[in-house]
């Protein structure tokens, strides 16, 4: 079977690429992909949504620190 589509978008190829990344990068990337896939937002709206989420990611990191 030839697999060329990225049906789930969170497949093992992405997981492997994220493996050595910082936690907040991992989280932010997955969040962005999930938002794009499930909400199907236009790019501008997606960028705005992600900008709002950035605060949370940084705060979380600061709390962990």
């Amino acid at each position: 079977m030839i697999r060329l589509t990225a049906e789930s978008l969170i497949d093992e190829r992405i997981i492997k690429l994220l493996e050595h990344e910082d936690d907040k990068i991992k989280k932010f990337t997955l969040l962005a992909l999930k938002l794009a896939k499930t909400r199907r937002l236009p790019t501008e709206a997606l960028a705005t949504k992600l900008f709002q989420q950035l605060d949370g990611i940084i705060k979380e990191e600061n709390n962990e620190d």
Binding site: I2, R3, T5, R13, L17, E21, L33, A36, R40, L54
Partner: protein, 678 residues
Amino acid sequence: MKIKQLELFNFGQFYGSQVIEFSGADKSAQQMITVIYEKNGSGKVDLYRAMLFCLYGEKALRRLPKYGKDENNIQLVNGVALGEDASGAREGVKAHVRVMFSHHDRDYEMYRALSGIRRDDGKIIEQIEDLKLTITNKAGKTQVWGLAKKDAIDREIGHILDWRLKRFFTFDGRKIARLAKVSQGKSILEEIKYLLNIDEVYSVEEAMRKLDKKLSDEISKVVNGDFRSRIDLRRKCQGQIEELSRKRLAVETEIVNACDERDEVDKELEKYKHIASLVNERKNREAEQQQLFKQKDEAAEKLRHFLPDAILLLARDSLAEVYQDIDEGREKGWIPFEIKRELVEKLLLEMSCICGRPLMANSLESEHLRQWYESSGAALNRAAMEFFRSIGNTTRFSNGKTEELDRLLKSVNSSVEAHSLGAVQLEKLVVELENTANMDVFQSYCEKRLKLSEKIAALEKEQKHFSRELNSAEAKLKKLELEVDNFNKESAMNEVLQKKHSVVIKTHDLVKKIIAKYVEDAGRVLEQETNTNFVNLFELAGQKKSFKKVVLKEDYTLEVLNDKEQPSFLDMSVGQRQVTVLSFFIALVQAASGSHTLDVPLFMDSPFGQLSNEHIERLLNYVPEIAPQLIISVTDKEFGADKGSMLYRTGRWGNFYALEAVTEGATTIKQLPAELYG
């Protein structure tokens, strides 16, 4: 999926009701090849258009994601039927396409209807009238979905035929030929992106780019000096890259569209091949006439140069007579003055008489001789001698000139005759062309093609320019990013903003890597499948040995390595290169349908191109191994007795249809026996 039947009613070129039954629809059928034979461009393109229209509701044959063609200009209802309606009932024309197929023990009948009317201003208005999908399961239970269930119908069809297959529905021989000779990187990468269907990842990448810009703006507002200037420069550079990428993409899109448009024009021009051959003949004749005119001019020029000599020829006979008379006179001593003068001159010089006796100076004899010599008129005699000599020279000079004049006159005559004859023939051709129907249409297509070719060349130049600019801007950005990063580390200001920015930059890089990874994986899969196809298509004595494998290079161009691992794509013959590209195209269909063995029919439009008979034979033997049905459309130009009997010998050829234009714009489909080639 196996297609059983296609019915067209007043659709495209097809007037009235026309039906095609496809070979191989029956499970047990050995014969799975259907051949559709087209004479003089009678509408095979509309068959594919009908399939896509019926199954997906699309008017255009190919539509690229993001930048679609304007479908409003595509007319689907038959023009002849529209014309009849416009001059008659004016009720509008009904048209439809019905596709009957089976899939996983279910029978499907897809029906899509539309209507059209030609308004008084000539504009054609079309609209969808009906949509129906009938599904019958193994037990004979039938379900019918209509317009109200359009979404469910789309989903069902999408489930059976992956939407990406639309793009590969037709195996366009022209496209294969084009890819075999022009740079393929852009086209192949585009096909891969299309297959991947990862628009969401591209959307995330774009969002990250926007976030990066937004955060850079904010940081720039709160920092000073060098840091700020670096951020500004970086932002400017990013803007430049964005702008250049956008421009390059626009140019590349324009190139693809222009190439597609040119292909369409070429297809249209195929219909006017007889005009093209007349035009070609006229062109050759005009060149020939120019040459003849030049020859005529040269011959006339030579004659003109000869004219002063030719005038002498007019007087030659009279001069010869005069010369002869003088000569005779001289011989007879009637005109002895030159001897006399010479003799007297000699006697006076030597002061000696003709008898040897010395002449005494101041003697009477010497005085008489001197007086005679002085009165004999030296000037007159000199002129007479000169005249005599000139007559001699002129007569001698004119010898042979008659032949030369004859030769020159013949040359002028023959070139004038040839030129006049050519002019008559050219005039005939011009008149024939003037009276040829559709000459204006042909000319407008030719002009369009020329303009498109010029446009493509200019665009390719532009594309190269943008690529160069982009490369240097990207190198500059890398340098600036390093500098900004250093400033970031050194500066403790705006920690939160910087952290956000850093997350965005890293995420952006990661998303780019994800895309690259998908593309790389897809490239590898395609490369692997291409090689399987390549080996099968090249499995002929001698050829397999010299070409080892196909590789998809980093720039997404195809390369073929020989047994010494050396690149040899460019050393291959045109036919061999086409086989390579064909292998890749089959791989694309395999990838789109999700398996090496296809579950869908394979449509090949003019696939034979410049393939050798061996390659065609191999292709015809290989395709049945990987596809349940093969539908080949061919033109009378490419499908002769040899190809027909080759196809017949495979034992796989079942149905055979000929598309015949009964009048312009009205094509009928006629079934013929494949045994014609047996």
